[in-house]
Amino acid sequence: MAEIKKKVHFIIERQDGPNSQPYTEEFEVDYRPALNVVASLMEIQKNPVTKDGKKTTAVVWECNCLEKVCGACMMVINGKAQQACAALIDHLEQPIRLSPARTFPVIRDLAIDRSVMFESLKKIHGWVDVDGTWEVHNDAPRQNPKTATIAYEISRCMTCGCCMDACPNVNQSSEFIGPAPIAQAHLFNLHPIGEYQKEERLDALMEKGGLASCGNSQNCVQACPKDIKLTEYIAKLNRDTNKQALKSLFNK
């Protein structure tokens, strides 16, 4: 007797362009062990036919590494923003609903425009000011391995935007810069040379839409696929910015 092939049922929210109306299409993909959402979308690419047998175009989405380090394939899966490559079908309730993370402008289908996150890294001065890539005949300062461990945790942030989508205060009508770039400011403040620009970073975080727009929903820390302790760093920066704000109020 032929075994009935187990199917995985997808309901995908599609959109042809930034200003088009969203619509849904349903797909079925053959089940196999360790199947994930990206692998399923790849199957749909090979045979772009809906559940009802209607020929359609392949779903558009963004992905690169499929190892949860590049951050590209973030989308909303069953209501929660996450990396599609690491979303195993076995762990998801069916039908699996995919939609773009609408906190960001939609490009097409599940592909979104996250350029705002990279722009934010400019705002918060997200780099260490080195004189140049040339030799300076001088070692970089030693670092306390414990501080370095915290820095490593934050520097694993892959700018995927899960925290941004989860945060109620990040949206297209708010200026809030969001959790990811805030934590990055803390990362550079932790570095012995990066610390020289701490004041500039904190000032940037005190501008409109900065740190103070955080509403403590704390979704970010739950949503972060890299388990970065975002709320803790936000609280630490709250302390730092308060100090600096008071200082500049009285000292200048």
Binding site: P168, N169, N171, S173, D203, G215, I234, A235, N242, S248
Partner: protein, 204 residues
């Protein structure tokens, strides 16, 4: 001014705890004197009413902070895309409730001040006291609204303390935050039970 937006947000936070929070506590304390009997309540109200510079104090120390905190708060809250159904975490529900209670408290306080302080006392010339409150609260609808308004205000205040402790960098780590979260919840239960008990005393 440098850091203008930052300071406005911070003053918003401060006004919530220092001006509004303190007044809320004082107000519930005054009201709760009713538990010692109607005469007791009338005495405390009279004592307050006898304060020098009462009207300027009411306007500057209470009215203005409430208006500042309330109006700005509504502007902020309206910008949020609330999502507790997608992200059903405890803190997200608290975030959502903080905003819902804000709207309720905002309406309740306006109505409360309007009916009692402005229409009742200033325009109607009524003496605010046990008898007057007894009349007002005997209407079950009004009583219900008072219960909701009281719970919302108290929740908004106590849960606000949680945010306050993070906004001011008082607690940073997850454990510290959890402790504060539980403490503020306990405070909510405590203050609201005092308030609710007091309310029931007006209709006995």
């Amino acid at each position: 001014m440098k850091n203008f937006d930052f300071w406005i947000r911070r003053i918003h936070s401060l006004s919530g705890v220092i001006a509004l929070g303190a007044f809320l506590l004082e107000h519930i304390f005054t009201v709760s004197t009713v538990m010692g009997g109607p005469a007791n309540f009338d005495k405390s109200v009279a004592a307050l009413a006898a304060m020098p510079f009462l009207v300027p104090i009411e306007i500057i120390a209470i009215g203005m902070p409430i208006a500042f905190h309330g109006i700005l708060g509504v502007v902020y809250a309206l910008k949020a895309k609330n999502n507790p159904l997608r992200y059903g975490y405890w803190n997200n529900w608290m975030f959502y409730l903080q905003r819902i209670t804000a709207y309720i408290a905002f309406v309740f306080i306006i109505w409360h001040v309007w009916t009692l302080r402005i229409v009742g006392k200033a325009m109607g010339g009524h003496l605010i006291g046990y008898d007057f409150m007894h009349n007002v609260l005997s209407d079950p609808l009004t009583f219900g609204f008072y219960v909701i308004g009281l719970l919302s205000s108290v929740f908004h205040f106590t849960n606000g303390l949680f945010g306050f402790s993070i906004t001011w960098g008082i607690v940073t780590g997850p454990r510290g935050q959890r402790v504060v979260s539980i403490a503020t919840l306990a405070l909510f239960v405590l203050i609201s039970s005092v308030g609710l008990t007091a309310l029931t005393h007006f209709v006995k």
